[in-house]
Symmetry: C2
Subunit: 245 residues, 2 copies
């Protein structure tokens, strides 16, 4: 196992950071490492908004409901961005492009592009001794985030990422068995792996070093998904012009 | 710059591989590094199909039209998977979950989950001295890929990844300026950065070590997006039960 793989395997989300801002150099390195990731057809269909304004950070924290959205070394918001491509063309070409830009294929593509960059940024951050936490919670009120960040047509805020010097050392959380995630030559039934993973997570929650509880993966899925959540995301995305053809 | 960041910055897609299969140990390490990435609410909403069957590889190559989909050290297909979560519950809960599983929010979430894992897998591969190429081209005929891999309801093949020992050494391709991708506290106009990047890419295509040409980024975008492409993806995703509420 080399140094990089060890780093990847050692990932855990950090939700408590020291009061120490990232330097401009760190921010640049992290984003440029992100930009080095693969990108569909060279489009680079994403934009990252860094939040330095204290009031704005507080407002985004209100959307997420998470303390660490406000208190961290730096806050990034990763956006799928098809606007840059659209704006790069004259009006005649723009009209021709709409069939693509507004369909599901390009929405998938831009979401993938933004996420590839984000994960490289996460890995780069961790290699610098920093901790990270992804913030899907910004989609709790995606319209509000859109408004706060002044995002134009064809740009969607997908998730945030809090980065900073860790002020906690949580355990690495177990994952599904390799054989549950990886199948050969076709899809296979997952039943036995789900049962196995429920046992794994029961032990994990019972034994971990903080906040022990009686729980397992299936129970979590049941609790989370039994109530409709973020039902406004569908219309929001369509209103921004994406995923609507 | 540490070793990991150097590795990330040095990424280039590899499209020609030596005839040398990945070992089972390499495959396991790559996938487990992928699994270590962050995952929304611990869902791990993805499955990876590894292709070892020669005929199947050839059929997937026909979908993509790319030689390196058939000839590589290993071929992975990354799928957004909400089926595992759905199947983990009894019928009463399943009914309650449908409002979530079938909406755009969960489609975004599963796409992000699969992509986070994929990028970790890419980084792990490269740290082992292997090269990788993402294959969005499998969406050229997403229905066919679905059929070939026997994917159930709520599972979408997002992209492939060819991995192997590099048999070429392409240049690192330039990216947009840091200031084009990274904005502070809100979205900014990209016009000048697009002009700048068009110049950068003109020089790059003129000067690179193979296949020189006269081209730039905006021209590529125009050529690619002026004709409708992969228009069947929208209906496919809906038919699989996702992104339809």
């Amino acid at each position: 196992m080399n140094e990089t793989i060890e780093l990847l395997m050692n990932h855990r989300s950090i939700r408590k950071f020291k009061q120490e801002n990232l330097t401009d150099e760190q921010i640049k390195t992290i984003i440029q490492a992100g930009q080095s990731a693969s990108t569909s057809s060279y489009y680079q269909a994403y934009t990252v908004i860094g939040i330095t304004d204290e009031k704005l950070k507080q407002q985004l924290r209100e959307v997420s409901g998470q303390e660490y959205v406000e208190h961290n070394g730096h806050l990034f918001v990763f956006c799928a961005d098809l606007n840059r491509m659209y704006q790069s063309q004259d009006q005649t070409t723009q009209e021709k492009m709409k069939d693509n830009i507004e369909n599901t294929e390009f929405f998938i593509m831009a979401t993938i592009d933004a996420t590839l960059a984000a994960q490289n940024a996460a890995v780069a951050s961790e290699s610098l001794g920093l901790g990270i936490c992804y913030l899907g919670s910004l989609r709790n009120d995606i319209n509000r985030v859109n408004e706060l960040l002044n995002l134009p047509q064809y740009v969607i805020p997908l998730f945030g990422m809090a980065v900073g010097v860790p002020d906690e050392e949580p355990d690495v959380k177990p994952r599904f068995d390799f054989n549950a995630i990886y199948h050969e030559n076709g899809y296979q039934d997952h039943t036995k792996y789900v049962e196995q993973f429920n046992e794994t997570t029961e032990h994990y929650y019972e034994d971990r070093s903080f906040n022990t509880k009686i729980d397992n993966w299936s129970k979590q899925v049941e609790r989370k998904l039994s109530k409709p959540m973020r039902m406004d995301v569908t219309d929001f995305v369509k209103q921004k012009g994406l995923n609507n053809r």
